[in-house]
Symmetry: D2
Subunit: 361 residues, 4 copies
Amino acid sequence: MSTLRIGILTGGGDAPGLNAVLRAVTKLGAGRHHWQLVGVEDSFNGLLDDPRRLVDLTPQACRGLLVRGGTILGTTNRGDPFAWAWPDGRVTDRSAELAAAITEEGLDGLIVVGGDGTQRIAARLMATHGVPVIGVPKTIDNDLADTDFTFGFWSAVEVATEALDRLHSTAEAHDRVMLLEVMGRDAGWIALYTGVAGGADCIALPEIPYDVERFVHKIKERARRGRHFTMIVVAEGAVPRGGSLGAGVDGSQTTKVKAGSAAQTLAELLEARISGEVRTTVLGHLQRGGGPVPYDRVLATRFGVKAVELVREGRWGEMVCLRDNNVTSVPLVEVSQAPRRVSPDEPLLATARAVGIELGG
Amino acid sequence: MSTLRIGILTGGGDAPGLNAVLRAVTKLGAGRHHWQLVGVEDSFNGLLDDPRRLVDLTPQACRGLLVRGGTILGTTNRGDPFAWAWPDGRVTDRSAELAAAITEEGLDGLIVVGGDGTQRIAARLMATHGVPVIGVPKTIDNDLADTDFTFGFWSAVEVATEALDRLHSTAEAHDRVMLLEVMGRDAGWIALYTGVAGGADCIALPEIPYDVERFVHKIKERARRGRHFTMIVVAEGAVPRGGSLGAGVDGSQTTKVKAGSAAQTLAELLEARISGEVRTTVLGHLQRGGGPVPYDRVLATRFGVKAVELVREGRWGEMVCLRDNNVTSVPLVEVSQAPRRVSPDEPLLATARAVGIELGG
Amino acid sequence: MSTLRIGILTGGGDAPGLNAVLRAVTKLGAGRHHWQLVGVEDSFNGLLDDPRRLVDLTPQACRGLLVRGGTILGTTNRGDPFAWAWPDGRVTDRSAELAAAITEEGLDGLIVVGGDGTQRIAARLMATHGVPVIGVPKTIDNDLADTDFTFGFWSAVEVATEALDRLHSTAEAHDRVMLLEVMGRDAGWIALYTGVAGGADCIALPEIPYDVERFVHKIKERARRGRHFTMIVVAEGAVPRGGSLGAGVDGSQTTKVKAGSAAQTLAELLEARISGEVRTTVLGHLQRGGGPVPYDRVLATRFGVKAVELVREGRWGEMVCLRDNNVTSVPLVEVSQAPRRVSPDEPLLATARAVGIELGG
Amino acid sequence: MSTLRIGILTGGGDAPGLNAVLRAVTKLGAGRHHWQLVGVEDSFNGLLDDPRRLVDLTPQACRGLLVRGGTILGTTNRGDPFAWAWPDGRVTDRSAELAAAITEEGLDGLIVVGGDGTQRIAARLMATHGVPVIGVPKTIDNDLADTDFTFGFWSAVEVATEALDRLHSTAEAHDRVMLLEVMGRDAGWIALYTGVAGGADCIALPEIPYDVERFVHKIKERARRGRHFTMIVVAEGAVPRGGSLGAGVDGSQTTKVKAGSAAQTLAELLEARISGEVRTTVLGHLQRGGGPVPYDRVLATRFGVKAVELVREGRWGEMVCLRDNNVTSVPLVEVSQAPRRVSPDEPLLATARAVGIELGG
């Protein structure tokens, strides 16, 4: 085999572990297999901008990356090559231009690290223009249907759980109802795991429109037992029963929800019904930033190594995934378009209810 | 000396280290000097409510308190005994009732742990009704004029600095302007220390109304050097030059500012002037919760020990304080009413400017 | 069903998450199902000592336990009821005495949280004396054959990984070889996961007797690339090829290895072959202490809930376990006696080698 | 003023905050004042080795340094230029050679960041060869006589306090006596602050040779109160009354003590006197590694800025220092040669005793 020349990029929102994937791919691909490894900056944009923005990825360039948050390549979820939005309002298909750039740069293939949107673009690039791609899934929300876990998820849960721990002591001292809003527009995994890990009293998930009276009942029942504070974890996409968030939640992945609005809605509903103070905290970007926890460092490393193996085996068009603790792969065209949501028979829901957590429905 | 019977309470917002003060007072007062130590719940309210809410503080009851956030006595900043606001709207002076309760409970004196408002009440209780009091200062904002540092401050700075560290990596990956709002309505100490410790590019303090163009200049100058992100720390009480916060900032300690509004104001001003995304994070209660850092555990322990010593020396009417690393005391009547703000000749301002931080004015 | 009266104990070395199990069992068993839940202190000893040492476990008693390290019941791995070692040297079978105590206390069954030794005693108690038992597995080393993960493991890996991160910067500044010894006498799971998560250059596992020359080669090869420091993770039970630890490792679970000896042996072998400094750090008990990470809080909660369900279903003689992310159970008599060791086809070994980690064999 | 060309080096053991000093000096010196700033690798060695090892320090090169442990310049405490120990055993004075190298490299002066040994060399270089030097003090032990605090100290105390917190829960679960050995050969500051911050029961300092019977008394008295565990913090240089460490402690700064021997000595003395288990943990290098806490980031930044100001004012021969929260300077020739030890009238000793900590003498 002559020397391979492979591109790699990171797309979508960032997640702790992206740099660890880059490091693993580089250590194995460039370090051992002597590939020329080319980092593309800011998702596909680095290949479409003029001049192109590409960087050589060498083992030297990857020192310290295992523990570092963010992505040295930069990332963005703006600029779909198939529907490029120009500043002047036009939308054009630049995918052929992108494929041409990949050929001009002499790339034998592209490793695409990103969420479901990025993976769909990758699959289409291969289908339409024959660009050889390998996918590595990334979603901090852990809502990809074809992998049990994605890196970044446990890091986000750890940040959110530490926040809940902190709020706990101040809620107890001040007799307060505390709402913590965590990420999760369509799927409530972070809220569910954080609520169980942090000992929340109530959890509001996007999948279970909540009856606010059930939360009120929990708050009052606790007060009767001398517990004059209540901790509530709210996912970004949680909505009251019969209610909706902003312009309406349609269950699709394109839902746009303003950070903080779920917490605010619930706070207002509660304040109308109870006498004590309700305070909200919106974690927002704190959940994406910072270095990955060990679980995510290991998973990201395994994913990166698998991506290199798929390239070497010529299994283009596959996406790395985790199934029952095994790292394997799935054809990109078979990747489910729908987010993996918390289903009614999810065992952790039963666990949450068993330890007395009110789920609002 | 016959067995002393001493009350202790915590008032105002909570701060990491309150429990550590209670533990130190209990270990020394009850454990060694065999005082009867009576904890009053929820600031002065525990003595005014019917029935009274008092708990025995014994060394056994204080196990684990050194590291624990919040306060086991509860706290509140509602209910000034000299101007008690009843639910029906009446305001009456209940201070004589409070003094009578202290006598009825057989208390030889009261250790009052709290902020400037609580200390003023304590001083007035002693002046008006002859109640023997000892003050222990508490303000997470570090804005008490008569002590160099208060416990809780460095814990808040650590939480805020970790948040800034986390946001840094995601800002860098996404080419964003990130605003982090931290506590500080009248004084910008948390913002200033956090900004220097976390390597912020800009800091907005209550003491320096900012010229937003200076922040814009900084953002653009960084972009010219290839740094397409900027980290800004904003104190709750920061205002644009010529502007004001909500119903107006009057510099008094009673300023009421809605959390998040300072960040929102600055974000809107910036978004009108630059092209990139501006994202805000409001830390809020996360800065008050959680266990104290070692610095605050040591300081709270020293303060608690000093309070006991003042009682034993009969130096009623004094407040513990820290001056040049020495724990000493000051008469409560001499305690300054004005908050200690960041003065123009504060050395850390010069340090911040020296490492290139833009202070907006 | 009349009110159940159930005993619960924790045996063996402690692990982060034991208190979280106790909390979950109490919240569900006592809180919802209204059991009388009796905590037995210090493993089986609390039932054998005179007077017996038993405590009521109520939801109130379990406040704050989710996040707290250790076990409020105490634990010990001394005192096998079937072979009780008296201070005077006699060894007698006290199992009938134990069964009688369980009857006398009116216990309908016993939930036994502990490692393989403790589970064997539980199985034998049921087989020999008909005591109804439910097992909950606990091993910080993650070396139980019948469960994919045990709580405490990821907490230990996080402590060890943070230590490796810390040592990394000082090793780099000082051009040193740094050895970090972590737990794992028979199985190297903590060492393997920590090494991958912390970016070690070499890992020495009990399962792979190491050829020290391979580590020396790695150190020298790094120096040639200008990397004058090397990070090595050593499991307690790691031995050089052809060598042995102390009085001999026999592969059984009764191996006694003095903490620090594995690191010392390797350090001496290295110092005889290279010129730089070799420094060792032995983590020891730091890996067992402290609160559980969110992963372990969730897992411990799931295990506790499952134990209560098994009791309610009358499935005595079963042990809770995790298989492919599902919490299920296995008959205690079928629980494997041999520890689950790192097998040669463990995928993470291949991952470690892929990112350039030298495993010594 | 024509463009200055200034060298900077870091000497002695590393400490969290060294990189933060380098960053501050670079941001101000190179970034604003346009100096040519030359980093010398591995203390003075980078100027004596052939070829010399020098690196340009630019603001770009300093990105991320504020939070990073270690020192990018490397450090060593081997190789005194005035008494250079060659591999063949000869010792020669290479100071003239060093001064010549400084001249040849066109350096207008040298900023020397290091401990007392490094500062003495700097002072002698100036006195003997006229090399213009500015000193920045560094000692993780906080035992320099001329500065209230040095960066790195609070970071070390935080690591040690977290370790004590972790050990606490496992000690309590297992009824153990736990010894934690922390740094401090001649001065017990880390042990004293850690012991108070972490709620130790006993502290053994180098300054107070301990009577082991006092520790035994404390252990037994606790057991009588139902507390069957005891936490002891031991400084590296702590010795029993009448005893000595290794080949003898002479109180000088050249004392060489093997890490772990103080804990081992005390453990053996205790085990001969009590029945329970005694376990030791030696923190060692974990205290030096990792990033600095906010306190140390601020202090290191202030020190770096002050060093640049001293250069600009031409105040060669001065060392930066902290006095009563003010950053100022002191002539290097006046810097005390004796370490600042914990004196009998240190207020924190009284505080420790007040909360019941046994100091052994």
